[in-house]
Amino acid sequence: MKKVLIVNLEKCVGCRTCELICSLTHERRCNPAEARITVIKFEEKGQNIPMYCQQCETPVCEAVCPAKAIYRDSLTGAMLVDTKRCIGCRMCILACPIGGLSFHPTRKEIIKCDLCKGDPACVKYCPEGAFEVVSLDAIGVKRRRENIRKFSSYLDMMTGGKE
């Protein structure tokens, strides 16, 4: 069953545990710059927003990748980067509207959320339980929509004017 990671922003306390467990499980190191998730902290406003790939239904990253190195994992529905196929042109990074992909700071590799084969470490280790993996059944689709609507409505706003 395809899965998707959703976050309850009300629960997030901005401790960045997700960033570190992400880096730890994927890179065996502790480095937010190597994490597939980034908590945007608005310290003046007390808001924390974990940003990560939304595993779009029609992913632009996949569409722009000339090497056909980005594909959907049949098991989890996550968009994955075939690092062996990847040629490092960074078009996916430039095309993603939400900054969901990034370039590894030292290793030559595109990194992005891969849903940890369906069992994301951030879900397990977030002390506040702010994350949830939702199977894309009828209810899941609806919940995901709600989660993503926030993002897409932002895109609408963007077309309206500046930041």
């Binding site: 401790c15 570190l20 467990i21 499980t25 480095n31 710059a33 945007i40 700071p105």
Partner: protein
Amino acid sequence: MNGYSGKILFINLSENQISTIETSLYSREYLGGRGIGVKLLYDMVRPKQDPLGPENILVFMTGPLTGTFTPSSGRVDIVTTSPESNLLGGSNAGGFWGPELKWAGYDGVVIKGKAKNPVYIQIYNDEVNIKDAQKLWGKDVFETVKILRQGNEENQVACIGPAGENKSNLSGIAFNFRNYAARAGVGAVMGAKNLKAIAVRGTKGSDIYDTKALQEICLEIQNREKMMPLYKDAPSWHWKLFQSLEKDGKAFFGNYEPFLWEDRIKAVQNVKEFIQQNHLKPESCLTCPLRCWAHFSVRGEEGAPIIACQGTWPSIAYFMKLSDPYYIWRIYTLCQKLGLDVGGTSAVMALAADLYEMGVISFKDTKGVLFELGNGKAFAEAIEKLAKREDFGDILAEGIKKAVQKIGRRAERYAVHSKGGTELWLMEVRPFKGAALACAVTDSGSCNRATYAFPDFYYRSMQKQAKMVAKNIVGKEEAADPTTYDYKPKTVLFYENMHIFADSLGVCAIPFQPVGLELWSRSFSACTGIKLQLNDLMLTVERIRTLERLFNCREGLKREDDTLSERLFKEAIKEGPWKGEVLDREKFEAMKDEYYFLRGWDKDGRPTEKTLEKLGLK
């Protein structure tokens, strides 16, 4: 180097010189954080230097666990010679700055010298630049952080406010908008070096020896932290704290008045309502489940939203007897912006109000500022003047001990402070003999680094747990009774060690003891790959502690300096649960003897040759 970054950045601002020191030279014997900080201070600063002179150094050190996945590992330790006490000064902060420094490739930063003009330091991995800060000079903490993050949102900023620039001994170093290394006048040292800020951005990360083990250990630590009452009570913790201080009889009022404050219950109720009316959202430091911070936005206040640390509000309320929470919040915000230590500032305000009431100082001295307990507006005005060292604020900015010395007129009769001149740690100590001892013998630079979490503190509200903990530590349930002088040296020794250990590892002291030593040391091994026996680790802690003492001895510290203000030995509490409690000099000195003995020091509080030998400090 797993866990560590391997390098300590050394910056001499007088000579515009940037170099690095190998962490491995120190890590084996001093672990990291506070331990290495003390060692660097001891090695690099010649005896009896002016704390505000260019020869003094300011050390920012992370521990091996800082910035690792270990829960509550957002810490950075500050060590310097304190201008408040002219002894070793230390303070510690959480947040994200220390980890970012680690990820940039440095275990610490040592600042020496003094820049000709105001500067700030920008660190981006291997790029370290000393930049002009004349435009930042005079800006408050919030403005400074915002400016340094413009277009550089990932920057983590350590900076001082106007108080630090003006070398107030009550000034701290702010980390972003929230965390503070507030004690010991570390902000003044930074200001004296003409250093406005250190902005850090790091993308190197830190290497981990055994990631799988670390994950397992961390889940365990998380679970234990979640069992702490602090975790369970959040976010109502922020007003419940007032209640617990009241319940445990730790509260004090004004300048340690002998009577209870009649409005104290009302104040708590007011604060509770104030918090509930306004939006409060819990926040955490790096990897910490405890979310003991909170974002707090007051309705109708423009540009005011600030994250409020729970631990500081009571001192504002109790020192200044403020029952209007709006002013508590205003003064707290003011201190955060100006770069002031909330506790110290509140204490000095209470002292001034006392002196004013007792007629030691007058309207003339204060240049028209009214020091009146309960008058938040007036205190706010006074605090701004303190930060700017205007008028009477110039004297109060010196901190309690130096201020009363300057005032003269036997003002010291009214002063309450601990060793060296820093205010007591936000609580009444007369009934708490252990805390009193700790505040007297500590060489850590600030008494909160020595006293936190004693079982005595919750003896009244959770006697059963307190007794159990006491039994675990010293073997006797009776040790939990705050008023007994027995067993206290052992308790102090234990908690001092805990603090040193936490501060040196780079994790927060709050969950340190509840989680238990064993897990932390396992986490240390998982991160660094260094297999240390608990005994070895404890020997390291002893070494750090004794080196702190050696530093202060070198600065001229004597046994008689290990004490508290005379008032606390003379003036008994006249009301409330601790009615009649006062410190007994004789018993107090006996505790010191025992403490010195346990530490392997002589009667003068100097480490014996044997101890030095055992610790490799000869």
